[in-house]
Symmetry: C2
Subunit: 706 residues, 2 copies
């Protein structure tokens, strides 16, 4: 089986090659005028400075955890953690560096044609996308190879399982910091800049006279590009790892444990290839529909994956191979159909998210209409849509759980989620093109490019709002579908330790039940349920605080340098970037540690009150509680925010009075409210859920170790 | 034991006597000038007309369900349903009729002194409060007496249990219609009136030139008084009934089943008396603190209840009587301490809600401060507070579950909730005084009473915002704490039917498990979790739609009758009331039926896909899913809305620029957003949760019957 592993590693390496090759192509295109390059350089410098500071701050936490893991669990686990953290950081770092160079080239290409702008922006996105999927796959597969082949650990041994979980933890930790820090930075800049610029001073978005405008463009890169990349990297890693852990448990002792542990990675490898091929299908048709062009890529990737997974499963698992997990019997063919379920879920989430956030449908239009009667009704309707938008995705996840479970039990659900995430390369590409076009629009505005260019970048940007919401819905949807998988990993681990209490004395006499009749289970559900709310509240407050600081800074600059508004004096862009950098780093620490520490603290409190069994029951329930509310909080925030943003765009397209009308002002308020919803609090819920789960798994490992 | 029942009935009757006596005292006070009486008459007429229409609409649904219950279960159950529905309707009807007469008298008394205004308004509220508690207690106790003593059913028999559950269903059904219909009416008027009056026309709230102003005042009565009364009536009934059902199951066959079924009603009876005494402690001290005056009443009631429950428990249960339910052994004394837990939870919820919605603390002040930088930051900070405000109440509920369960198992939790709800008379009094003072302010403004009077009524109104949030937090908190009780009723019923499958053939071979490892349990949790979101979204949309209709109607009147703004022409108040009546009735139907039909439809779908056992598991989990998200949705909406409202009041008190400043405009937007949050969608979640639970219990009964 070792050579299959090498093949999977080759697929991962191919995505790196694609990245290098495409980066060269993007960088070779025309970077525009000197003025454009000057602006791009300022964005680049700010983004680089922020990311360095963020990584430094996270590195301190990371080193502490590395040392803790080394002493609590051992070197392979600590190194796993480091691999996850470093690769996640690398994906964000490289992606962002491409993004800050592609922005100006997209602006330049957009002066010529929509197709040209789309092509550069999408390829820049695809680099990030394939790096995310490729590095994640490489991290897991290479480390698995090292552990099992070079160091000789048995694939289903505790060391391998714990090391993989630690790898997931490393990815999760970077992810939550990057999502939150980046989210606070980008939305502090966006909200603050809009309030003081658009609303108070009456100057358009990205006007060079606004001292927050460079910070806003920096934010797109550090939040929407680097933050999102870390998030999806983490989702990918945790999903694959959890599936492998389940395989190691379910097939332990049998003769196919290696194949079943390799199978999820093989799905990932195959879909890296189909994603690369899919990127070449993204091409503007005669209808000039940008969404249509992107859909072509997604559909191509999906269909190719559907085709390729059949022989892959037949060859690696065998279509008729009969397996049994718990009470459920299934075959290799059942697993293939579980993969199909994952693909169908992805497709449905894309379609539903487009419905809720696209300008062509009822939800966005209803918010635009409500703007006519004022700020209040805009926000009310936006909140109504955000609440409503959770229903269909939840039903899809419910349906997927039922079907995948019916096909192949819990392992079937795990394969469905893995296949869903295997498309991450393509889905992230859709998302990462957003900040590039957003930046391109900003550069066009600041460099005074012709109105037409701005129109082209705006059209790209509006699609970007939808694709950004799609990715977030996809990430959180996979978390919902994967909830049972992570919970199963927890219960199976617990069962294993309790059954072998002679080796793991801490678990002697532990008899944790997870029935809803057990009050500690209900306590755990409530406590888990509370985390996304508290976390969301803290994140929103942080953005509000950062935005207020920006408003005051900009007001101060306008007052001290009256020449700014006349265009005779240059605003001090650097100060706004600096201020946000400090604010974001400071504000991200406490909420990021909330999901890391909660499971541990909660476990020991319940243990102290009611004993070990109750504490294990409550902790397990907490893992599901956090996903039950987290799913709804995250979907409502990300879809609602996207809808608000596009309702504003819909009005700017000339509906309900267009730009400058009272309806437009109300829509700007809604957009402002939606900003931290969709780009800070909402997306950070996904890594938060994962961290809670991973920390619980690690806690079990640590308790077993002592 | 029969004479104890009569004693409890006497307590219930006493509350009616208190109501009659206090009503006469309130009506005897000065109703003010002719102009004031004319305005009050218009409000009265509108409120009456709305309530008649609402009851007619609900009656149609009610009659259909009555017939269905008669054929599906039998006459005692159908009559139980009717008793619950009619008494709930009566509580709202009488309360509202007092409220629309007390408003003008409060305004008149407020021209003289704050103490006088407070006295009338609070007594009016106390009438509603004690009617709610008294009628609820009477309904349950008299029907229980009739069934067990006159008709001779054994207290723990299925007929009695099902009839009591049906009584709860009747109350719940009225409650959700009243909460939603009333909520849509009142907030449609409030939001629409504010948008077009305050924001567009620049006239103050309650200005007689605003054609929506009478509708706004009507709304306070039909929503905040009648709707709230129905909600708390339902919460009271369902809690007491669920506790009695649990007692009938846990103590069936033993010799104390009658005592244990009577015990929850006896707690209710005792606390009616302590609540009545408590109302006499509400008196303005030298500090002129209104909240202080109300606190005196609450504290007096709480302390007296603490004292009285000891001998009551000793006498009815016996302090040393040893009991055992499941694995948990406990004594009468344990049950007393569970009651204490309920009282402590109530006290803590009051304090925390005051912290989150009072003008003296960080949360409200942070929203006020965020208003300085605009509409967007106001709403962001309001949402942040609304998310954050869920944490402490959730922790309190978690703590209460752990302590009460530790003391006396699930039955202990049931007694804790019952005791909590036993204070409903006092708590509802705090709340129901809100709409009276709100109306008094409106009448003062419209009748052109001196500025001072308006200041007095405004001071009362600000406290009303907090007490309204308190009641809602209290209702939803009890639902959270009671979740396990209702779930236990469901599982115990199911267990009973499955164990006696020879009598109940439908349950043959049913083996439903509720472990979180069961995928159908997770499916149920997600589906339950989705209901509050979908429901909230529909309710918010309905308010937005009603408000937009009002905005257009008012604009039309301003345009057609230019004399209105000059004060020379009288607006057509009736048309706004009419329009809202129709809108509210129409919009309330679909969302109200959502929780009624969802459990049934969901059960049969899962049954069809995966069989009975899976369907029963999923349905049970759904009952907890709806409370896990519902708790957070409801608390965040009600506390957040209250905070927004008082942030506006805080600015109007002269902070951050005061009335008319930009900060004030932003705060008005926040208040508008908070309106449907706190008065429509949020509070309706509580009856929604209860209905889902009750319908599931009835579904079991129906399935057992066939």
């Amino acid at each position: 089986m070792t050579w299959v592993l090498y093949l999977i590693i080759a697929c991962g390496a191919l995505s790196i090659a694609y990245g290098v090759w495409t980066t060269r192509a993007v960088l070779a295109s025309d970077p525009g005028t000197a003025r454009m390059q000057e602006i791009a350089a300022a964005i680049q410098e700010g983004a680089q400075a922020y990311l360095n500071r963020q990584y430094q701050a996270v590195a301190i936490v990371g080193v502490l955890i590395f040392i803790a893991l080394y002493f609590l669990l051992g070197l392979p686990q600590a190194i796993g953690f480091a691999v996850g953290a470093v690769l996640s950081g690398a994906a964000g770092f490289v992606g962002m560096n491409v993004s800050v160079r592609a922005n100006v080239r997209t602006a330049q290409a957009a002066t010529k044609s929509l197709a040209g702008g789309l092509s550069i922006a999408f390829r820049a996105g695809a680099i990030t996308g394939l790096l995310v999927a490729g590095l994640a796959l490489l991290g897991v597969s290479v480390y698995f190879l090292v552990l099992t082949q070079f160091l000789g650990y048995s694939p289903a041994s505790r060391v391998v399982v714990d090391a993989l979980v630690a790898l997931g933890f490393g990815a999760s930790l970077i992810s939550i910091f990057a999502r939150l820090g980046g989210g606070i930075f980008t939305k502090g800049a966006d909200v603050g800049g809009d309030l003081v610029g658009k609303v108070e001073a009456g100057i358009p978005e990205d006007d060079p006279r606004n001292p927050a405008t460079i910070a806003d463009n920096v934010g797109d890169n550090v939040g929407d590009c680097a933050g999102m990349a870390a998030d999806l990297f983490e989702t990918y890693v945790v999903t694959v790892v959890a599936t492998m852990v389940l395989a190691s448990i379910y097939f332990a002792g049998g003769d196919r444990v290696m194949e079943m542990m390799i199978y999820p990675m093989a799905i990932g490898g195959a879909c890296v290839i189909t994603s690369i091929i899919g990127t070449y299908f993204v091409r503007l048709g005669s209808s000039q529909s940008i969404m249509g062009a992107l859909y072509k890529g997604v559909i191509a990737t999906g269909v190719l994956s559907l085709i390729v997974l059949w022989p892959l499963t037949a060859w690696l698992v065998g279509m008729d191979t009969a397996m049994k997990v718990g009470d459920v019997s299934f075959t290799g063919q059942s697993l293939y159909f579980c993969g199909v379920v994952g693909l169908v879920v992805t497709a449905l989430i894309v379609v539903i998210t487009e419905y809720y956030t696209g300008t062509n449908y009822r939800p966005v239009q209803s918010i635009a209409k409500a703007s006519v009667t004022g700020h209040g009704t805009n926000v009310i309707q936006g909140l109504a849509i955000s609440l409503e938008s959770t229903a269909l995705p939840a039903l899809i996840i419910i349906g997927a759980i039922i079907v995948a479970y019916g096909l192949a039990g819990l392992f079937g659900i795990a394969i469905a989620v893995t296949t869903m995430l295997a498309l991450a390369g393509m889905i992230v590409a859709l998302d990462a093109f957003g900040p590039v076009t957003d930046n391109a629009g900003g550069i066009a505005e600041m460099a005074g490019l012709p109105e037409d260019t701005r129109k082209t970048t705006d059209a790209l940007d509006a699609v970007g709002n939808t694709t950004k919401a799609v990715t977030k819905g996809y990430a959180i949807g996979s978390a919902g579908l994967g909830a049972l998988v992570l919970f199963a990993a927890y219960t199976e681990d617990l069962k294993y330790f309790a059954a072998n209490a002679d080796q793991f004395p801490y678990f002697g006499g532990v008899d944790a039940t997870f029935s809803l009749s057990n009050p500690y289970v209900v306590v755990g559900l409530f406590l888990g349920g509370l985390l996304p709310y508290l976390f969301g509240g803290i994140a929103m407050t942080a953005v509000g605080r950062a935005a207020s600081a920006i408003v005051e800074e900009v007001r101060r600059q306008f007052k001290e340098k009256p020449g700014i508004m006349k265009g005779t004096e240059r605003p001090d862009y650097g100060r706004a970037v600096d201020l946000l950098t400090k604010a974001a780093i400071k504000e991200m620490i406490v909420p990021s540690l909330l999901p890391v520490l909660s499971p541990v603290v909660f476990f020991f409190i319940i243990n102290w009150i009611a004993g070990k069994s109750a504490a294990f029951s409550a902790l397990g329930a907490m893992l599901l509680g956090v996903i039950v509310t987290g799913l709804f909080v995250a979907i409502s925030m990300t879809a609602g925010g996207g809808a608000w943003d596009n309702a504003k765009k819909y009005i700017e397209d000339g509906n309900y009075g267009g730009k400058g009308s009272e309806a437009h002002k109300a829509a700007v308020t809604g957009d402002t409210v939606g900003d931290p919803y969709k780009d800070t609090a909402g997306p950070a819920v996904n890594p938060m859920i994962k961290i809670t789960n991973i920390v619980a798994l690690l806690l079990l490992a640590v308790l077993a170790h002592h």
